[in-house]
Amino acid sequence: MNDTIELHDVTKRYGDTLAVDHLSFTVRPGIVTGFLGPNGAGKTTTMRMMLGLDAPSDGAVMVNGQTYRKSPAPMQEVGALLDAKAAHGGHTAHQHLRWLAAAGGIPQHRIAAVLDLVGLSEVAGKRVGGFSLGMYQRLGIAAALLGDPRILPFDEPVNGLDPEGIRWIRSLLQRLAAEGRTIFLSSHLMSEMEETADHIIVIGRGRLIADASIAELTRRSASSHVRVVSPQATALAALLERAGAKVTNGDSALTITGMEAKQIGSLAAEHRIELQELSTQRASLEVAFMELTKGSLDYQAGVPNSGTIRETAHALVGTGNRS
């Protein structure tokens, strides 16, 4: 009972197709973990294996310390959203949740609670066959939350949601993570993760490309820098360069890399240099990730070939059109 999802060297083959290739990672509680990869990278296959729907060809997937199929109270441990449209069109939203609650041995009063939480109370008596994709997503989230589970793997939950719906789901997921739950969220767009996730796991062609915290990624980025405005810029620049920082002199400001704002401030104060502005400029996740994939490939042990990495990076940050 550790609220984690662990993949141990997992491989999945469908005939001659290798969908997942020696994948290992751990998803931890208390944060939102983004699971990124281009369409066809193996994200859905990986999530299916977490839920025991597909059996790994090799390796093991442990959810909460055991294989999901052996879970004694599955819906109270794990709440998954795989395919939101997986509902019988002839059932009403309430009836759909009623059989699910029955399956998990979950008290019926939870149905009204989760319908209220996702904002579907008023359509509880409507047949789901007439629902929009956004409403299906909300129903899928309601179903996932029925058993009040600790582990929540969601596959592309913002698909089909309007901007308001996307904001809603982001705040919901962050709130659930703040309650100490394990949130695992897949997407094929890097930009979706920046505001939602704390940690990202990136795969391409079924292989692990990156497994890092977003804060760490953007801090390491060459594009992250500190901006300083000072009337004594020349003196400050010389001082900082002696201390080991890299300084670029712009028109009105210094751009400093290799030193944190805090150290720059102390150094300036020590030498009685006036600062009019001191700000940290963080690289965007997209930029940081592109740098990571372009630059050193020693970031991750067992790195696949650079072609896959480049291809994955471009697919994730590239055009941004949703398929």
Binding site: L51, Y68, A102, G104, G105, L172
Partner: protein
């Protein structure tokens, strides 16, 4: 349109997940799976439509045939049998109940519902077992209802024309009426199994109806030896050997006990194959 508008007005999340379940998880049991599968069926209009149509069409067909016979026949042949005559509508029950059985499983695959079902209940044997028990129980109930109703309606119509009738007190009548009802789950269970193996409603229904009718259609054209040594091994003949053999004889029938063994073997093989496939195949 209206449903969409309503969802947009309720877009802000409600505070908290309470009332929550508390920290102690209650293990899910087989009865929970049974309750879930029952709820799934009991809340679908298609369930009532398919089963209801099976009962109504069977009784109506029996009533019409008896009415036609009663009003047109001047004299009655010596071998006229009011018991089998009143069971003439049974084909509708067989067809519609088999469609029901097939859909209980195949419906799971039409929109990916199976993945939700198996996420809620990852112990797959429970899901298969629950569906098996429900189809058996439901069709047993509806089967007996249909055969008894057909018998009573048929005898009432024939009796009204002053034709020879039988009562449920008659051992032959009781054996056939209750027997036909009791073996009614056979083809629906084959449908359930084929629905899982083929993962398609159309495929499963076509297959189970072919299984049901092809031997009947082509069997009569076969030479006697084939009817005695091949036809008798078919599941339908096995079942008929239990229920009809004592009132209407055929070279392709066996004794009731042998018939039961033949039918049971077929069911065990088909359902067993579907069960093992259901346990192992990626969903």
């Amino acid at each position: 349109m209206t449903t969409e508008a309503m969802s947009l007005t309720a877009a802000t999340p409600a505070a908290g997940l309470s009332p929550s379940l508390g920290s102690v998880a209650r293990p899910a049991r087989f009865v929970n799976t049974l309750a879930a599968e029952w709820t799934k069926l009991a809340t679908l209009r298609a369930t009532y439509l398919t089963l209801g149509l099976g009962v109504v069409l069977s009784i109506a067909t029996t009533a019409l045939v008896c009415l036609a016979l009663g009003s047109t026949q001047k004299t009655w042949a010596a071998d006229f049998n009011p018991i089998t005559t009143s069971m003439v509508g049974n084909i509708w029950a067989l067809i519609l109940f088999s469609v029901f059985g097939a859909m209980v499983m195949s419906r799971e695959y039409s929109g990916g519902l199976i993945r939700l079902t198996l996420t809620a209940t990852p112990r797959r044997g429970r899901v298969f077992g629950a569906k098996l028990i429900l189809v058996t129980g439901i069709i047993l109930g509806f089967g007996l209802l249909t055969t008894v109703a057909m018998f009573l309606v048929g005898q009432a119509v024939l009796g009204a024309y002053g034709r020879p009738v039988a009562g449920l007190g008659d051992a032959n009548a009781r054996w056939m009426v209750l027997g036909l009802g009791a073996v009614m789950p056979f083809f629906p269970l084959v449908g359930l199994a084929l629905g899982g193996l083929l993962r398609s409603t159309a495929g499963a229904i076509t297959a189970v109806l072919g299984f049901l009718w092809l031997p009947v259609i082509f069997g009569a054209a076969l030479p006697l030896w084939a009817r005695q040594h091949v036809m008798n091994l078919l599941p339908g003949n096995g079942l008929d050997s239990i229920t009809i053999n004592h009132v209407e004889h055929s070279p392709s029938f066996s004794t009731p006990l042998v018939g039961a063994v033949i039918a049971g073997a077929w069911l065990a093989v088909i359902v067993g194959a579907a069960y093992l496939t259901f346990l192992r195949r990626d969903a």
